[in-house]
Symmetry: C2
Subunit: 206 residues, 2 copies
């Protein structure tokens, strides 16, 4: 950027380039796009970022995004507070909420145990989960972590850690996606979907 | 975003999603990334955007980016102001400047004539180019537009428009890239590089 001699431009490019998956060239394209927009639009963009950190915080109970101490899910008396769904990240909460099928509450771990990436159990919101189990009468824990080595490791770690509470633990169903062709499914998924087959009547109810 | 009930979050996601090539999912990932950063970093990001529009403007002469009336290239008395290189966009200026081989000045058109995309000659900085030719003694015009149908159309339009000035017009060389294997070059490029072959001694000079 030196060849442009514009510190304001260089700073904006640097800011965008700090985002995940954005290199300097893409950052430059974004900044040039913004330069062509109305002043008011770009100001609003800047304001939105400044407000973001001021207004958005994390739920004290489940670590979901929130604009107050409790997120709207934890604060909702109509949710089933005795069922906790454990997810890796806030986007998983959004994905499950979008289905409209889940009435329980969540616990956002903030990642998964991954020795390769240097993420250990203490880096995740596990202590606060155990505290929730100690202080509340929880009747079911649902594991909804990703179906990977790290996800399985994390599931197993949590399972061991929660054994003393003797709370029923379930995990979301894995299998062939709705609308997917059998012939294109990978063998592991297909194997799982055969092993975990359901009585046909059950699928009619859904 | 409704399911999160956070207007601050929704606004930030919307802002990022307005950037070229960024969908709502990527925008969400960027915002979640920012939420995990230090307050000061995010403030700096917001500030950078607000400053961008305040500080950065376009050069009166060549439409390059600038923080004053004239860009650093037009304001530099050591550049060859009688040679104008015509480019589509500011990134092309940067790319050519990075080579360190060009000592003339530029004229940024701001695009290329494209009937398909509804871009006509009046949408480009062509009037200001003609004015430059009228008011200054220009000795060479270099076409450095992209080698596409639109680029060629724009070149031809400009060539006709500038005919009365009888200024020598050149275009940057097209051919096999330095370091590229011949067998992987497309036929058009290879054909051009044979047609426009150079005396070998010339290539030694560079």
């Amino acid at each position: 950027m030196d060849e442009l001699r514009s510190p304001a431009l260089a700073k904006a490019v640097e800011a965008f380039a700090s985002l995940p998956g954005i290199g300097r060239k893409t950052a430059m394209r974004m900044v040039l796009h913004l330069l062509k927009q109305d002043d008011a639009d770009v100001m609003r963009f800047g304001d939105a970022l400044i407000r973001l950190k001021q207004d958005v915080t994390f739920c004290e109970t489940c670590h979901n995004l929130s604009e107050s101490d409790l997120c709207h899910i934890c604060a909702n008396p109509n949710r089933q507070h005795h069922i906790i769904c454990i997810v890796e990240d806030i986007r998983d909460v959004m994905a499950i909420e979008n289905t409209g099928e889940y009435k329980g509450v969540y616990h956002v771990l903030g990642g998964r145990i991954s020795p390769m990436e240097g993420v250990g159990p203490t880096d995740l919101h596990i202590d606060s989960l155990i505290k929730r189990l100690q202080e509340n009468k929880i009747e079911e824990i649902i594991f909804a972590l990703s179906c990977t080595l790290e996800g399985d490791t994390t599931n197993f770690y949590l399972f061991k850690k929660m054994a003393s509470f003797s709370i029923p633990v379930t995990t979301i169903a894995r299998g062939i996606g709705v609308g997917d062709e059998l012939e294109f499914a990978d063998e592991l998924t297909l194997a799982r979907s055969i092993l975990h087959r359901l009585p046909y009547e059950k699928t009619l109810a859904g």
